[in-house]
């Protein structure tokens, strides 16, 4: 007997070939700032880089700042392991991202915007520049005083953290700042700055075109709209998929797994590992689902089948964090080193299995005391792997 698999609903909004950005912009620019902000707030759009801050509110808070100079920055420093959707968006629909930036600029009162592009994506630059020239002509035609430049990163994961990104653009080491103050008040060059993920900006184009109501029809409760997922690992169909928020991990695995899925890493190395027994109870979105756990994500979905050693997976993540930690604060710098050393020692039998519990305490400390999201989120993958696959860490 064959069971029919429920196929997740594929959405086609972001990548839809729409060349009407001049019209969308003309309409959006003709509306009052308040009206556009309301539309964005009502859409329920939350930041698609992974943190999930409400986009409309971010624009509103920055618009309220009484400062002459402000900036709009598109965060294209896509470095989370397992994430590659922003590159696809910038390749296929860059005009939607630029339109989102331009509307945001008009609302907050910015004349300058930047795309902070990771160094690994330098090959995108010639096409993006061509697109920028075309877009600037449209802006001139519509009479909007706004220019976008590309700023290249140089191979540092931490620069995807917004305040580290500002430091990097200011010509310094990409070391995160203390928060508050938040970028809406003090961002790039200490000016109020809206910094949005590539996908967030592309969604704002969809919202401006189809309206908040249509966007809200997708998703569940606090997780509205669609999301672009980067699917990789042990799957017969790796790639980029736009899906509705709110799906359960079980539905996702039924659709994308290879029939032998042991665990799914949601949100990249800084996210959570969901073991098989929790597939049904875990959904993808922001908090506020009625039952079970809901995991936010930048869209990285890495699938592991039963041939994979979870020890190797964790070792690989910790190796990544240990290298990418900026080294500024002790909990993260030393914490990452000790976690990596620690799991190796347990595996080799140099430390007892109970040492894992000490390491778990260390991740609690890092969660509390690390200066930025990198150090704080190491605990996510560490605890979800060690707690669910403890035997694999030891034997």
């Amino acid at each position: 007997m064959t069971t029919t698999k429920k196929q997740l609903h594929r959405i086609d909004l972001i990548f839809k070939n729409e060349q009407d950005c001049k019209e969308i912009l003309r309409n959006a620019l003709a509306r009052s700032n308040q009206e556009v902000i309301n539309e964005m707030v009502n859409s329920g759009l939350k930041g698609r880089g992974g943190a999930g801050f409400p986009t409309g509110l971010k624009w509103k808070l920055t618009a309220e700042q009484k400062v002459d100079e402000k900036f709009v920055i598109c965060n294209a420093d896509e470095g989370e392991p397992g994430t590659f959707k922003d590159r696809e968006i910038l390749t296929r629909v860059p005009h939607k991202v630029l339109s989102g930036m331009a509307v945001c600029a008009k609302i907050i009162g910015a004349r300058k915007g930047y795309i902070y592009l990771r160094g690994e994506y330098k090959f995108l630059v010639p096409n993006l520049k061509k697109e920028l020239r075309r877009f600037h002509d449209i802006l001139d035609e519509l009479g909007l005083d706004f220019r976008v430049e590309i700023f290249m990163g140089s191979g540092a994961y931490i620069c995807g953290e917004e305040s580290a990104l500002f430091e990097s653009m200011e010509g310094k080491r990409g070391e995160p700042r203390n928060k508050p103050p938040f970028p809406t008040e003090i961002g790039y060059m200490d000016k109020p700055t809206v910094i949005n993920n590539v996908e967030t900006l592309a969604h704002s184009y969809t919202i401006l075109k189809y309206g908040a109501k249509k966007f809200r029809e997708l998703g569940v409760k606090d997780s509205r709209g669609s999301k672009v997922f980067s699917v990789s690992g042990d799957t017969p169909i790796p790639g980029i998929y736009e899906l509705e928020l709110g799906m359960s991990v079980q539905d996702f695995v039924d659709d994308f797994g290879d029939g032998d899925t042991k665990a799914v890493q949601v949100g990249g190395a800084s996210g959570f590992l969901v073991p098989r027994k929790r597939f049904g109870k875990t959904s993808i979105g922001y908090q506020g689902k009625l039952t079970g756990i809901s995991l936010p994500t930048g869209g990285s979905m890495m699938i592991f089948n039963s041939s994979r050693s979870m020890y190797n997976v964790l070792n690989n993540y910790l190796d990544f964090f240990e290298e990418e930690s900026c080294g500024q604060c002790t909990p993260c710098r030393v914490g990452c080193q000790q976690l990596l050393k620690g799991i190796k020692a347990v595996k080799r039998g140099e430390k007892p299995a109970s040492y894992l519990d000490q390491l778990l305490k260390l991740t609690d400390t890092m969660k509390l005391t690390a200066k930025c999201g990198l150090g704080q989120s190491v605990a996510n993958s560490f605890s979800s792997i060690v707690e669910n696959f403890r035997e694999e860490m030891i034997y």
């Binding site: 470095g79 590659f84 330098k122 090959f123 290249m152 140089s154 191979g155 653009m169 690992g233 993540y317």
Partner: protein
């Protein structure tokens, strides 16, 4: 004015002496010389009137702003989880035995350097590598050798 002096001078003239132009200037030197020598760092510091320690401190933060000599072609093989699962080690072995150097080393003719790097964002087409700015995906031990042979045999 030697080549490097002119390079730094032109880059600073193009971008400006303000600190926020430091990264594009460092990247400009890397494009030409593949690494930031001590001399280049001192010249940038002088032209921009900022302490050489600041220039060095900034450069060493970024994995693409190398301060060790590199070959004309820098090979960066992704070592993050999906590439590791899909055979990154075999790719490295194939490159090492073809070029007869180890990861971290540069060939005697200064043509190639092999490095490993963190997630390149091609997990759906793993394993992946960069050769300077060019991307190669879904590598096999055979295809990677074919790719590098073309680089080796050019001009």
């Amino acid at each position: 004015m030697d080549f490097q002096e002119k390079l730094v001078h032109d880059l600073v003239a193009k971008h400006g002496t303000d600190r926020e132009n430091l990264l594009p200037i460092l990247q400009g030197v890397i494009d030409q010389e593949r690494y930031l020598s001590e001399e280049a760092i001192l010249k940038i510091a002088k032209e921009m009137s900022i302490p050489a320690a600041d220039v060095y401190g900034t450069a060493t933060f970024y994995s693409f702003l190398d301060t060790d000599p590199r070959g004309k072609y820098v090979i960066r093989v992704c070592k993050t989880i999906t590439c590791a699962m899909k055979g990154k080690n075999q790719i490295i072995q194939a490159i090492e035995s073809f070029l007869k150097i180890k990861v971290g080393e540069t060939t005697v003719d200064k043509k190639f350097t092999i490095l490993q790097t963190n997630c390149l964002g091609w997990c759906h087409k793993a394993p992946a590598m960069l050769v300077n700015d060019d991307v190669y995906t879904e590598l096999t031990p055979e295809s990677v050798v074919d790719i590098l042979r073309e680089y080796r045999e050019e001009n």
